[in-house]
């Protein structure tokens, strides 16, 4: 491992060591402009974190940059103590990344995929994908173009988990799955995180299901982490309101996502003076995925 890349030890959180730290990360694309802007965050070792935000906000870019597939304009990413963009493949080797658009070899079965992964990657633990597929009743001897879309994603996820990564990055992995399988997969992710001390960062819109696995949520907006907290706290202290509404006195704005016009913004508000527990606000109401729908809303303020 590159000694220089490891020279600065990882920060530790009050709860223990950090698997990943991101400091002042900015990514700018030619044409589309600034995607990430001075973003900082930290992932505790062994945690499962859900990364939430509307489409196009930069979730995939953030994951790709942490995985080392995207070079930042500025800032630094450290995984397991190694600077991802200065430490070469040493850091990338400890990160598992399942991109949004991933496919299996259609004419081969899951067993052949596992054999291929084991041959491609030294130290690959083929017991993990085999057990995961068995537990989830995914046929291992059927061609992958003859199993369901959800099962294909499970196979891909199982294959990546076999690398036993210190940090696992999942980009909307359960999009093609039915709700029950989603819950099973997230349960499995949590189980694996606990068993192997793997930290997981999962970008998703499926907040309700992610709650089953995630210790905390990060909300991405305007190129930065605009909200960082655990689910019970968020439930107790947050409301979604439409920004062209007059703000209640004393409200503290912590998140803002560009809306349908210059004056319209969907925001997430911490209002410590008015806790919303018992206010019929369900987790689904809080679904930050709803931001995408809300941001096109017009008319008077929406406050729940």
């Amino acid at each position: 491992m590159d000694a220089a890349a490891r020279s600065s030890p990882d920060r530790t959180s009050p709860g223990g060591p950090l698997a990943c730290t991101v400091d002042g990360l900015s990514v700018r694309y030619r044409g589309t402009g600034q995607v990430l802007d001075d973003l900082s965050m930290a992932l505790p070792a062994g945690s499962v974190t859900a990364l939430i935000g509307p489409n196009g906000v930069g979730k995939s870019t953030l994951l790709r940059t942490i995985a080392g597939f995207e070079r930042p304009t500025s800032g630094r990413v450290r995984v397991d103590g190694v600077d991802v963009h200065g430490g070469g493949s040493a850091a990338r080797g400890s990160t598992g990344f399942l991109p949004q658009r991933v496919a299996l070899y259609p004419a081969s079965d899951a067993r052949a995929h596992i054999a291929w992964a084991a041959a491609a990657r030294p130290g690959y633990d083929r017991g993990i994908p085999e057990r995961m597929l068995r537990d989830l009743d995914v046929p291992m001897d059927r061609r992958t173009d003859r199993i369901s879309g959800g099962q294909r994603v499970i196979v891909a996820l199982a294959l990546v988990l076999g690398t036993r990564p210190a940090l696992l990055l999942l980009d909307e992995p359960t999009e093609a799955m039915d709700p029950l399988v989603r819950l099973e997969v997230y349960g499995l992710i949590r189980d694996l995180a606990q068993r192997y001390g793997t930290s997981v960062l999962v970008a998703t819109h499926q907040l309700a299901e992610a709650t089953a696995a995630a210790d905390r949520f990060l909300v991405l907006g305007g190129g930065r982490i605009t909200l960082d907290g655990d689910a019970p706290t968020l439930l107790a202290t947050h409301r979604t309101i439409h920004a062209d509404a007059p703000l209640p006195p004393g409200a503290a704005w912590v998140a803002a996502v560009p809306g349908g016009g210059a004056d319209r913004r969907v925001v997430i508000r911490i209002d410590p003076d008015r806790p919303v527990a018992g206010d019929a606000l369900t987790l689904d109401d809080l679904l930050l995925a709803h931001l995408a729908a809300l941001r096109s809303a017009t008319g008077p303020a929406v406050t729940r």
Binding site: R92, G96, S108, A112, W116, A119, A120, A156, L159
Partner: protein, 325 residues
């Protein structure tokens, strides 16, 4: 490697089957034609008599041999010309483009963080297929052309240049490498196939008119070049030299085009008179690369193409290394 070969073999099974079928049919046809040519091969005296180089009167059954040589074998020659382009383009254009387009590349990169380790075994496996295929075709070609032109030593003649031997293999590998690079850049199968179709035409034209690769042109009188030559005591049916130029050589050794040579002619001459005047002042010559240089030219072309192939493969590594998953 076995697991990868199995999974890649299934993913590209149609291309592999197409290449295998083409190769088997071509090699079998070549063997059959070669054996038939050997059966019908006329005697030296017969060929000499047919060319008017020897005494007449001996019974000579050359017609069937010539018919086969200039008919079916001529068509096989076209297949041999096309082989490196077909095999190289088909094997190379899908190798990376299909994985990128379908998303299996993204999975591979998730499992193998070093892209070079992802791409290298794929290229090695496909390269093995291309080299094996082209070697089989090249060996079959040597068998056929030695029957079609018994008097020709391939190292001393351009008559069947590029239709057998190592050069045929190198051409296939070069087209393959360029197709791999195109696939890595484009990242989609159909557009890569369209790009390769255009590139194949350009490469085909370039390889049908090979450069002398540094061998100087020799200017010889046209009449002398037209005279049939003998090789090893046998008459040659094909010109061993490669003609690369044509002109009129003045006594001072300068070769000019007809127009340039006629520029200094007296005014008022009609076409026939002008033609006669130019021929009086200069000798009609052809520029040739002598057949004796064929082996050297083939070696130089092989080295140049190998350089192109290496550059293209290195470019593929570079492009894949910078691709987003």
């Amino acid at each position: 490697m076995t697991a990868l070969a199995r999974i890649l073999g299934r993913q590209h099974r149609f291309e592999i089957a197409a290449i295998a079928l083409f190769t088997v049919v071509l090699v079998l046809a070549t063997l059959i034609a070669g054996l038939r040519l050997r059966e019908l091969e006329p005697t030296d005296a017969c060929v000499d008599a047919w060319l008017g180089l020897g005494p007449d009167g001996a019974p000579c059954a050359i017609a069937a041999w010539l018919s086969l040589r200039n008919g079916e074998v001529g068509l096989l020659g076209l297949a041999f010309l096309a082989a490196p382009f077909l095999v190289g383009a088909v094997a190379g254009s899908v190798l990376l483009a299909r994985e990128i387009e379908l998303g299996t590349a993204a999975l591979g990169w998730a499992l193998q963080p070093r892209r070079a380790r992802w791409i290298a075994p794929r290229i090695a496996a496909a390269l093995l297929l291309v080299i094996t295929t082209m070697a089989a075709i090249a060996i079959a070609g040597r068998f056929l052309w030695s029957a079609a032109d018994p008097a020709i030593d391939p190292a001393l003649s351009f008559a069947r240049y590029g239709l057998d031997g190592p050069l045929l293999i190198v051409r296939g590998v070069t087209v393959f490498a360029i197709a791999v690079l195109a696939g890595a850049i484009v990242g989609r199968q159909l557009p890569t196939a369209i790009v390769m179709l255009g590139l194949t035409i350009v490469l085909w034209l370039a390889m049908q008119h090979p450069f002398p690769w540094g061998v100087p042109t020799t200017w010889v009188p046209l009449d002398a070049q037209m005279t049939d030559a003998r090789s090893g005591g046998r008459a040659e049916l094909s010109d061993p030299d490669r003609i690369v130029g044509y002109g009129f050589q003045s006594p001072d050794g300068v070769v000019r085009s007809f127009t340039d040579a006629a520029a200094s002619a007296p005014a008022g001459l009609d076409d026939d008179a002008l033609d006669a005047w130019v021929r009086q002042q200069a000798t009609e010559v052809v520029g040739i690369v002598p057949g004796a240089e064929a082996g050297s030219v083939a070696l130089r072309e092989s080295l140049a193409l190998a350089g192109v192939a290496l550059a293209a493969l290195a470019g593929s590594f570079l492009v894949i290394g910078r691709r987003r998953p």
